[in-house]
């Protein structure tokens, strides 16, 4: 697992295009029963260009899934919107009403696959009924047979058997259900697909099939961009162009997949990379690094760097004030120290 093994094994990153998704200073919170506010997403800003894919990683409770819900405008109690803007393909979704959002944005501009997508299918309906349901709302002029024809064609292009359309959800395996849900949710060719841990409940073989399907959707231009949320870093490395690491409701580092895996700046990213387990030679001698402690409680106002309590490199100045983002070219990270100092520390630690 040394640095000199660095070489390009993933597809080249596509050329930059226009922004399809822009999030600025987004803040959302959960209200608990005791009327306390838990700031799950606390000042997140990022852009996603057309044709690019973005991976979001971080440990449980860091706000990955809340960010995904917020992007979709799914603000149902106990989740509330506080401030910030979300611009999808030129439209600020926070200015739209609920009805407008549902008709114009959801499914057409942005689609979402929840964590337990395979349990989202009503067991009493055949798969084709879900597609008819979408079409009734968004393409009311199509007849039932036209919808069926179109669905069968789409399933065929995605290497899914059209027989699935006539099956009930319980007749399908977990991996198959997951792929079906993805095919259904992208039937209107949304610009952005937000996939929240689509493979974490599946075994490695079905996981590969789901990834293949997502890649096919991008290659065949059914979706323009993908936001992929997971905690499996090796998976992100192969699926997405960029990786964004979240910690305690904030982005701590963003960069291309290659940079993030082999050359992390932020101490938290560095620690996360240390927890990667892959079946490669040398893995057995590699010592896993666990991060001691727990993330801060997001109910309280946090002074200084949010990772300071668990960071082995933390100094006194890390504990106070607000830590601003540092921007180096395309990379962004939230730490007081410059990359050269950090690298020196990492090198010292390895020795």
């Amino acid at each position: 697992m040394s640095q000199n093994m660095l070489h390009i094994v993933r597809d080249p990153v596509p050329a930059p295009g226009r922004n399809i998704l822009e999030v600025k200073e987004l803040k959302t919170y959960y209200k608990t029963r005791l009327k306390e506010k838990v700031h799950a997403v606390d000042g997140v800003s990022f852009e996603l260009e057309e044709g690019r894919t973005l991976g979001i990683a971080g440990e449980s409770g860091c706000g990955k899934s809340t960010l995904a819900l917020s992007l979709m405008g799914f603000y149902f109690p106990p989740l509330f919107y506080q401030s910030g803007s979300i611009v999808i393909n030129g439209t600020d979704i926070m200015t739209l009403g609920k009805e407008q959002l549902r008709k114009r944005i959801l499914g057409r501009e942005i689609a979402y696959i929840p964590q337990a997508a395979m349990n989202a299918l009503n067991p009493t309906l055949k798969i084709i009924r879900f597609i008819e349901d979408i079409m009734k709302e968004h393409r009311p002029h199509l007849s039932k047979s036209q919808v069926r024809e179109m669905a069968a064609e789409r399933f065929e292009t995605l290497n899914l058997s059209p027989d699935v359309l006539n099956a009930y959800p319980n007749e399908l395996s977990g991996g198959m259900k997951q792929r079906t849900v993805i095919a259904i949710s992208t039937i209107l060719n949304p610009k952005v697909l937000v996939a929240d841990e689509p493979t974490s409940a599946l075994d490695v073989t079905s996981q590969k099939a789901v990834i293949r399907l997502l890649k096919e959707l991008i290659a065949k231009k059914f979706i323009q961009s993908l936001v992929f949320i997971t905690h499996e870093l090796p998976l992100l490395y192969h699926v997405t162009d960029d990786i964004m690491i979240m910690y305690a409701g904030q982005i701590v580092e963003k960069g291309t997949a290659q940079q993030m895996i082999f050359d992390p700046y932020h101490p938290y990213t560095k620690r996360l990379m240390g927890s990667i387990i892959v079946p490669e030679a040398g893995m057995k001698e590699h010592r896993l690094e666990a991060i001691p402690g727990a993330p801060p409680n997001l109910k309280n106002k946090i002074e200084g760097c949010r990772f300071a309590d668990r960071c082995t490199f933390a100094r006194e100045e890390c504990q106070c004030g607000t830590i601003e983002n540092r921007v180096i070219g395309e990379r962004v990270y939230r730490c007081l120290f410059d990359p050269i100092t950090l690298k020196e520390w990492y090198a010292n630690e390895e020795r």
Binding site: M1, M5, H7, V9, R10, E59, S60, G61, N159, G174, L202, D203, V204, T205, S206, Q207, K208, I211, R212, K215, H231, E232, L233, P234, L235, Y237, H238, I261, R271, L272, G274, S275, I276, I277, V278, P279, E280, A281, M283, K284, L288, E289, A290, I291, P292
Partner: protein, 268 residues
């Protein structure tokens, strides 16, 4: 590892569910021998019979055919008393930490039950001391946890608490059935390190069941690869993962994304 005593061995184990047309063979003709202090991984995709095999080893399911020997003798599992005695030596951690706990019992009660299960008569202070020791083994603070209910804990904390239980009971054999599949990558390394620590300090035999060859390679000495109820390849971890011979093993390894090799997404 081969010099150590064989703790648990089986030959020709078969498990058939249903009969007639509905007959389904979940485990077919499986043979193994697990040594003391060895970490064994059983790897396969969903539906390959891993968990069924684990349940047979635990004595929760009765095998249809074949023979299992524990310390060279057939297991006595007919009466409840006998089963209880067997479970002092063999314990398990399951996949879903959220359903492994009784939701009405506080953490303290869970740990006191472990002491009771061992049949020890201890004073209050000794009990607390034991519980503190177990919690510090898994990096949890007993003072913060003892009056909490399971729903107040995170998945990683619950799984660590399960390991604290194992530490208190110190069984000879631990069956870990996908203990890390529901928790994030970060807590996963903590859990794996703790399993390795249990082996190092208590010379425990650990049977690790997973679908991820990467994890299996990291923790285990010996790997058994299972496909459709049969063991298709077995041997030392290095041999099986770095020089796989069977087609299915190669497929499993290629299904896992790696970081120094390209990931072939083509259809098998």
């Amino acid at each position: 590892m081969k010099n150590a005593e064989v703790l648990l061995s089986g030959s020709g184990i078969t498990k058939v569910f249903g009969y007639g047309k509905q007959k389904k063979t979940a485990v077919q003709d499986v043979s193994f021998s697990f040594h003391e202090g060895e970490i064994i991984s059983i790897v396969g995709e969903s539906g390959s019979g891993k968990t069924t095999l684990a349940k047979i080893l635990m004595g929760l399911l009765k095998e249809t055919g074949g023979e299992i020997l524990y310390r060279g003798k057939p297991r006595q599992l007919k009466r409840h008393k006998e089963r209880k005695r067997y479970w002092k030596d063999i314990q398990a951690i399951f996949q879903d930490p959220f359903s492994s706990f009784n939701v009405f019992h506080m953490v303290e009660k869970l740990l006191i039950d472990c002491i009771k299960l061992q049949g020890l008569k201890l004073t209050k202070e000794e009990q607390v001391l034991r519980m503190k020791e177990a919690c510090s083994f898994v990096n949890l603070k007993f003072e913060e946890l003892h009056n909490k209910y399971p729903f107040e804990l995170s998945g990683g904390q619950m799984q660590r608490l399960m390991i604290a239980r194992i530490f208190m009971l110190h069984p000879k054999i631990l069956i870990a059935d996908e203990p890390t599949s529901m928790i994030d990558a970060c807590s996963r390394s903590t859990i794996l390190d703790m399993l390795l620590k249990l082996r190092r300090e208590n010379n425990m035999t650990i049977i690790f069941i997973t679908h991820d060859v990467g994890l299996a390679y990291y923790v285990s000495d010996t790997i058994y690869i299972m496909e459709k109820g049969r063991i298709v390849e077995s041997g030392p971890a290095e041999d099986v993962i770095l020089r796989p011979r069977h087609r299915y093993t190669r497929q499993l390894i290629s299904d896992v994304p790696k970081i120094h090799e390209a990931w072939d997404l083509a259809q098998p």
